[in-house]
């Protein structure tokens, strides 16, 4: 699987945890209420947060409040269907880190994703 791949959402839907962990870019899998369902190894390495500490929590308010603004969180909330890539700055372990985000959502499916690639 590839960060920019067109049909990546469908593939992620059926991928198991092990498959997500084998990817080179970060993957945050959420339900439609922003609750984290899966958090792959690449993302764990970037953020320093373990999968266990993150799963079950609200991504925008409890895990990564740095995204809780109109550039990221509100885009998920305002759109039923979303596939957008932006450059952003994460604050992993208090360090500003430039990343590329791919925001994926489609209300007809059960999950939404955020793909993260360090720049």
């Amino acid at each position: 699987m590839d960060f920019a791949q067109a049909d990546i959402a469908e593939r992620l839907d059926t991928a198991d945890s092990g498959t997500l962990d084998s990817l080179s870019f970060g993957v945050v899998k959420m339900d439609l209420n922003d609750v984290v369902l899966d958090y792959n190894d690449a993302e764990s390495r970037l953020s320093g947060l373990s999968k266990e500490s993150v799963v079950g929590r609200n991504f925008f308010t409890q895990v990564a409040p740095c995204t809780n603004n109109f550039m990221v969180a509100e885009r998920y909330h305002e759109h039923d269907v979303l596939d957008e890539t932006i450059e952003y700055v994460f604050t992993y372990r208090m360090r500003p880190t430039k990343v590329r985000l791919r925001m994926l959502k489609d209300v007809r499916r059960n999950y939404q994703y955020m793909l993260v690639e360090a720049l």
């Binding site: 409040p65 372990r93 208090m94």
Partner: protein
């Protein structure tokens, strides 16, 4: 001190998730560390470049960047809760407000704390605007009411004059002329001797004509007076109607509540000068607990101010009318009690001039001010305001010199009734 690794992890999370933006900068503004809220607040205004804090801030608040850069001491407080407004994308021109604190820790280390105070600022602005609007409206209404009141007083003066003219006796000149005619007729023969026959008759006819003409003019004038009286009454009615609108232009909402005792105390302090001038002793009998009533505080204060004013003014009349005062002191008693219903009752009694008991109702007519120039709102308006609160107001006296007693009853907030009723039973 040694930290275990999960302690460090906790500490990191604590700083990372703290609900305010925290940043550590180098002296040139380069960001060394920042937490999640810092990114949340600053990313949208940074245009995506988030490596240097000064670069992020410069387009929005260049003077702040200059202040920080110009700070010479090697440590100390650079900025303390400085408010900055920032034109933010996605907010339709409404600016964001951040409060910024900068502390210099070392030569090459600045700590920045930033909070979003937009909501507080907007709320302040809303409240300020509402207060201003209220004041303007109230001012307009009060001005209108007082102008109308003054005109009303002038019209009342005209009305009284017209009434006196209408009630006047028939013209004295007409009767005098008739007497003269009778006298001449009785002495007609003697008169003919002097004037010559026919001339005396002609004189009588002439006098009769003058008398008739006078009579007609008197009748005409009386008709004009009647019309004038009608017109003044009409104008008075129009004025009092307009005053109702002016007074009630701020609509009374049944959801408004106020504390009756506070309302009374406000009225007393507003009338303080008048009370002091006449050395009035004010005695209060209030329930121990607050008495919450439904009503518009400002309007009710005006009602009680007028009642207190009237009482004060009655002391002046008393002083004029009786050379020697029986009562040593001017006293006003203010009592508050709770009646079943439940209603709150305010009794304001004075030992002033009083009035004939049968006048008690007519004092509430809009034209019954006994003063030539009134500055108050008048009992008529008091009654309208109280009526708008589903309340009643009465003013009674046992007679001139016997003082007066004003009783105002207003609906009482039911939830706290029991306590008050018990309390009053105990007192009784």
């Amino acid at each position: 001190m040694q930290y275990r690794s999960d302690d460090v992890e906790k500490l990191l999370q604590f700083l990372y998730l703290a609900p305010l933006a925290l940043l550590e900068l180098q002296r040139d503004g380069e960001i060394v560390m920042m937490n999640a809220f810092a990114a949340q607040y600053l990313m949208p205004i940074s245009g995506g470049r988030m490596t240097n804090f000064f670069d992020v801030l410069r387009p929005h608040a260049p003077e702040i960047v200059d202040t920080i850069a110009a700070f010479r001491p090697s440590s100390g407080s650079v900025l303390n809760n400085r408010r900055i407004s920032i034109a933010a994308p996605g907010r339709e021109g409404a600016p964001l407000y951040y409060s910024l604190t900068v502390e210099k820790l070392e030569d090459n280390c600045l700590m920045v704390a930033l909070t979003d105070v937009t909501e507080a600022v907007e709320q302040d602005a809303r409240i300020k605007q509402a207060i201003e609007q209220e004041a303007v409206q109230r001012g307009k209404a009060e001005l209108a009411a007082s102008v109308l009141h003054d005109i009303g007083n002038a019209i009342t003066g005209i009305g009284t004059t017209v009434a006196r003219l209408l009630g006047g006796e028939a013209w004295y000149e007409e009767t005098a002329l008739r007497r003269l005619e009778d006298y001449l007729r009785d002495n007609l023969t003697g008169l003919e001797d002097v004037l010559g026959a026919g001339k005396a008759d002609a004189l009588l006819t002439y006098l009769g004509e003058i008398r008739n003409a006078l009579h007609d003019r008197a009748a005409e004038l009386e008709k004009d007076y009647a019309r004038l009286a009608q017109i003044t009454t009409h104008i008075s009615e129009l004025l009092s109607l307009q005053r109702t609108y002016a007074d009630e232009s701020q609509t009374y909402s049944s959801s408004m509540q106020c504390d009756l005792v506070q309302v009374l105390e406000d009225a007393i302090s507003m009338q303080a000068a008048g009370l002091e001038k006449r050395s009035v002793v004010v005695q209060r009998r209030y329930p121990q607990k607050a008495v919450r009533i439904f009503g518009d505080r400002t309007k009710l204060v005006r009602v009680f101010v007028n009642l207190l004013r009237n009482a004060c003014e009655s002391f002046d009349r008393n002083a004029r009318q009786t050379a020697r005062r029986d009562q040593a002191e001017n006293t006003i008693e203010i009592g508050v009690s709770i009646l079943t219903g439940p209603r709150a009752q305010v009794v304001i009694s004075d030992n002033g001039s009083g009035f004939e008991p049968e006048r008690s109702d007519q004092l509430f007519d809009s034209a019954s001010s006994s003063k030539s120039s009134g500055g108050g709102i008048g009992l008529a308006v008091c009654r309208r305001i109280v009526a708008a609160h589903n309340g009643t107001i009465e003013l009674t006296s046992e007679g001139p010199g016997q003082g007066a007693r004003a009783v105002v009853e207003l609906p009482f907030k039911a939830t706290e009734t029991t306590d008050h009723i018990d309390h009053n039973h105990q007192e009784a």
